[in-house]
Symmetry: C2
Subunit: 211 residues, 2 copies
């Protein structure tokens, strides 16, 4: 069974994609951003990241959201793709794959427009086909799973489970039972009863754990 | 065919539920909150609302998030329900129904924890069974539909469509075709081509239009 540590106990990610939603403010997110050796920024996110004194491996996007001085000075880092079918986050993900980065944490992908937030979160269910992905927000971590998984936890940890295409869904160690939910809210507001919980699934599920 | 105006052209809502996410900052949201004759606050939202000089019709929740002085002074407005199966937003919605309020705009239901945002947005698909509902955020408006609908629009208006249980989905007047999407992101990043667009559906869909 696949096992997941508490976020607070995880190592610094090997690769971070910093998307152009709200810039992270959670201390753990900022610490990871500082320590991570390989950070790829979506367009607009590079402005704040570079101004905080760091240098991304690459800036993915058409450069339209870059400040003029940053666009000029860091032109060599910009990887643009004309293709309009996917958003900058997906372009950054593809770039990371092309660089053989296979364990990727996404940050800055929520906040601002809610349709972008919902869309970005759901992309994890696609990305999991090609890499080990998670999304860190200022409130917790989303991970996509499609097999039985055990999560390190603590009593009372708030947990939400979103059914993407699971046809059999249950849990051990959560306060409320899981089932094959048909509306998004149905798997929210759950909580851990002990130091571990298990989710059993046939199909894809997104698991959100607050810090 | 059901028709929807541009948000900016709508009348002030008859009823607003102010939930306990981020307090609205969009000027239209603040204007509606000021003018609306019937505002129901979820617990914590009442603190900011009352401090801005207004008085809600009711405060729904267990009162735990109210500031002590507000809790004492406005005790008569508090409607608490011990039931733990639904969140304060759903309790406020039920309260409004009990008061014969059948046209309801929800505000303050996004921001902060992303699982709450996703859950709250999806509740519209349930609430539509019992009332005419919409959700206004600082970026746009979500409405749930389950029949062919025409939306007033403008060229380039950003539109996202989320399939809740639709089995036939198409559009006229949008840049990209709709289909029976299976992942949330697939209906995002669309845009209006003219001053109206039409969505045809068999089943429930959430439509998000930016201002």
């Amino acid at each position: 069974m696949k096992e997941y540590k508490l976020p607070i106990g995880c190592d610094v990610p090997e690769t971070i994609i910093l998307a152009d939603g709200d810039f992270p403010f959670h201390p753990l997110a900022l610490e990871w951003l500082r320590q991570c050796p390989y950070v790829v920024c979506c367009d607009g996110a590079a402005n704040t990241y570079i101004r905080s004194g760091r240098m991304p491996e690459a800036i993915v996007g058409d450069g339209d959201s870059l400040l003029p001085d940053i666009k000029e000075r860091y032109a060599s880092l910009i990887h643009s793709e004309a293709e309009q079918e996917t958003n900058d986050l997906s372009k950054a993900f593809r770039f990371c794959l092309s660089q053989e980065r296979k364990r990727i944490t996404i940050m800055g992908a929520t906040g601002k427009r809610e349709d972008h937030t919902i869309g970005n979160v759901s992309l994890l269910a696609d990305y999991m086909e090609q890499a080990e992905v998670s999304m860190m927000t200022d409130y917790g971590i989303f991970v996509p799973i499609r097999e039985d998984s055990m999560f390190e936890s603590y009593i009372g940890q708030q947990i939400s489970v979103f059914n993407m295409n699971s046809t059999a869904l249950s849990a051990e160690g959560l306060a409320y039972p899981l089932s094959v939910f048909t509306n998004w809210w149905q798997g929210t507001l759950n909580e851990a009863l002990a130091r571990h919980f298990i989710i059993r699934t046939e199909g894809k599920v997104l698991v959100f754990r607050v810090f």
